[in-house]
């Protein structure tokens, strides 16, 4: 553990303040660590993933003896030292060739991990197409029903979303949408299909034994997005290969600790102004119609018709006056004139 530092000058104080936890978090920083041995494929994959993750990425250029699944202490140290909460550890062994371990931290401790093996790898340079500007936000696309049902893929989706798109932003420049990271799976094996549909609680034992062998391949592709004019407000989308593209197989993983996960999923209380603008809670009796107008509904108590103000005339006065006279008539006419004007204003 690092010692707690007391800032001695304003600059270090600001630096420490920037690291303190915030209500709306900064984008996660990822550290790319090389294990004891990394092959060419892993090196290239890490390098290009870093290019996509930039500027929130730190590269450790030296080799490190790090085994995240056995001992995560050095990861925790690095996380604190660099104020990073994501790791990609590349490691290639005989038993597990071309492995990448995605590690996610919470409060400088490991939350969950997922190991993948790189099967097929095509670099960005393999496609002679224009590349996305570094630092632009990417779109993400996930395709398969397993991303909703299978716990391994739910975790993978959450990890990848956190990795590339985890930052909460309030607006985006529509012209700056340049690339999409598409994650799709191979066809769902029948074993998984039946397992997920028939009894989702049972197969945990069976999947553990033949875990990684059974799971479909994960295809990660990065496409450039071209927005073509379609004649409507919404453009037509066309994709071109940008690279990198890789096929991954799932290997080992650790689930997040339930207590820790609960802490991590805690949301800040929504601020008052946010509530007023309707972000926090559902706004009652208000809706935006198709034309983009805000429409409200008002509930009024039952009307007392006895107190209803009808046409005002001398003749209808309670106390005195039983005859209609000229002035009453003229008043009534004036009323008639006034009413349509009013109505026009309303509409």
């Amino acid at each position: 553990m690092l010692r707690t530092i007391k800032p001695k000058n304003a600059r270090s104080k600001r630096a420490l303040q920037a690291r303190e936890s915030k209500e709306v978090e900064d984008p996660r920083t990822a550290i790319f660590v090389k294990g004891t041995h990394t092959g060419e494929k892993v090196n290239a994959a890490m390098k290009e993933m870093m290019a996509l993750k930039r500027p929130n990425a730190i590269s450790f250029s030296k080799k490190n003896t790090v085994r995240p699944f056995e001992d995560a202490s050095s990861l925790e140290f690095w996380a604190q030292k660099n104020d990073a909460s994501l790791f990609v550890v590349g490691q290639s062994t005989k038993k597990r060739p071309d492995g990448l371990v995605f590690v996610r931290m919470y409060d400088n401790r490991v939350l969950d991990m997922c190991e993948v093996g790189v099967e097929k790898w095509v670099s960005m340079n393999g496609f002679k197409t224009p590349k996305a500007t570094p630092g632009h936000k990417s779109l993400m696309h996930f395709a398969s029903e397993l991303f909703d049902t299978h716990p391994r893929f739910v975790q993978l989706k959450s990890l990848l979303m956190d990795f590339f798109n985890g930052e909460v932003i309030d607006s985006i420049c529509l012209a700056g949408l340049e690339h999409v990271i598409s994650v799709s799976l191979g066809p769902t094996p029948t074993s998984l299909n039946t397992a997920t549909t028939s009894n989702p609680l049972q197969p945990s034992t069976s999947t553990d034994t033949s875990d990684s062998a059974n799971l479909p391949t994960v295809h990660v592709r990065v496409y450039g997005v071209k927005l073509l004019a379609s004649g409507t407000r919404i453009p037509r989308v066309e994709l071109n290969d940008m690279g990198p593209s890789m096929d991954l197989v799932l290997r080992r993983h650790t689930e997040p600790d339930q207590e820790q996960l609960k802490q991590a999923l805690r949301r800040p209380k929504v601020r008052k102004q946010d509530v007023e603008s309707g972000l926090g809670k559902k706004r009652k009796n208000m809706e935006v119609d198709e034309m983009g107008d805000l429409r409200g509904r008002i509930h009024v108590a039952k009307q007392d018709l006895n107190k209803l103000q009808t046409r005002k005339m001398k003749g209808l006065k309670k106390g005195r006056g039983d005859a209609f006279d000229e002035s009453g008539e003229s008043e009534h006419e004036a009323d008639e004139d006034a009413q349509p004007r009013k109505r026009r204003k309303d509409s």
Partner: protein, 313 residues
């Protein structure tokens, strides 16, 4: 004019930008993510993987882009900015939620009194220099008195009165006071964090102190001529307690209103008197004249006796 072909063209354009799927795509515009929950079509997947992946990705991205482009936008120099809704997917945080800062003494007081925080401008307008100057700090306006070349000296000033030093001291004491208060606030915040086992302990201590005080005062001289131990403190009497100066605004209001109400009400004595005076008949005087000064008891006796006598006769 025939518009059917225009409409058809428009519909075709619309068709090109809409995506039809068995299971509708889940779009999380806040995270710019789309999830296609349709099962992978094994046949077309096996035919050509890359083409199939690209086709599904295009459909997904088209859905996402149409969701993004239909969001309300604001214009900016770099193009339209779409206002994103809050994300629907829950992702774990990287760090725990920040703990709320403990309020300072002033903040507590202001809250109790309902005082709104007022932002003080850092700069003030200097009439002489005709420019905005800082309130404090380098060339701050709080040092004006120390730096002016001539200062008015009060008539009763000492011979060694130094106006520059006096102004500087006044400023420095203010700074020192603020520093002291800041330290106290920090200490209080730490104390409130650490005080968990304190209540039970302090209760017991108070009890012991009370017992000790009673025994010390229970000699013939009430403890006045007793031998004192080293480090023993002088007994103190009961201190007067006052209501706290900082109570909540509503409590203070109700307290003041109660006083006003008391003032409004007529006193009980006066009320009784005045109610008697308003009557047309003064009962006391009537009794006196009827009984010829003998009082109400005599009148009752006489009246009762008289009636009885009449009945007998």
């Amino acid at each position: 004019m025939d518009v059917s072909d225009i409409l058809a063209a428009q519909a075709a354009k619309q068709k090109a930008v809409t995506v039809e799927k068995e299971i509708p795509l889940e779009v999380d515009a806040g995270f710019l993510t789309v999830t296609d929950l349709n099962p992978i079509d094994a046949e077309s997947y096996n035919e050509d993987v890359e083409d199939y992946l690209k086709a599904t990705a295009r459909d997904g991205v088209q859905a996402l882009v149409s969701a993004l482009f239909s969001l309300p936008t604001t214009s900016s120099p770099d193009g339209p900015l779409a206002k994103l809704p809050p994300p629907t997917t829950q992702l774990p945080r990287a760090k725990p939620l920040p703990k709320p800062k403990p309020p300072t003494k002033w903040e507590q007081f202001a809250k109790a009194k309902g005082i709104q925080k007022k932002r003080k401008e850092k700069k003030v307008w200097d009439e002489e220099k005709q420019e905005w100057v800082d309130r404090w700090g380098w060339k701050g306006s709080n040092k004006k008195e120390e730096q002016q070349w001539i200062t008015e000296v009060p008539a009763n000033a000492d011979a060694d009165h130094d106006p520059v030093k006096a102004a500087r001291d006044a400023r420095k004491t203010k700074v020192a006071k603020n520093e002291r208060q800041h330290k106290q606030n920090v200490a209080r915040a730490q104390g409130s964090n650490a005080s968990s086992a304190a209540p039970a302990n302090s209760e017991r201590k108070k009890q012991i102190d009370r017992t000790l005080a009673t025994t010390r005062a229970s000699t013939a001289s009430m403890g006045k001529f007793d031998k004192t131990l080293e480090g023993e403190k002088k007994l103190k009497g009961v201190k007067r307690k006052f209501d706290p100066t900082e109570v909540s605004a509503s409590a203070e209001k109700s307290h003041n209103l109660a006083i006003l109400q008391k003032l409004d009400r007529e006193p009980a004595m006066k009320k009784a008197k005045s109610s008697g005076g308003h009557d047309v008949l003064n009962v006391r005087k009537a009794i006196r004249s009827a009984s010829k000064g003998k009082g109400s008891a005599a009148l009752a006796r006489e009246g009762g006796g008289g009636k009885m006598n009449k009945g007998r006769r």
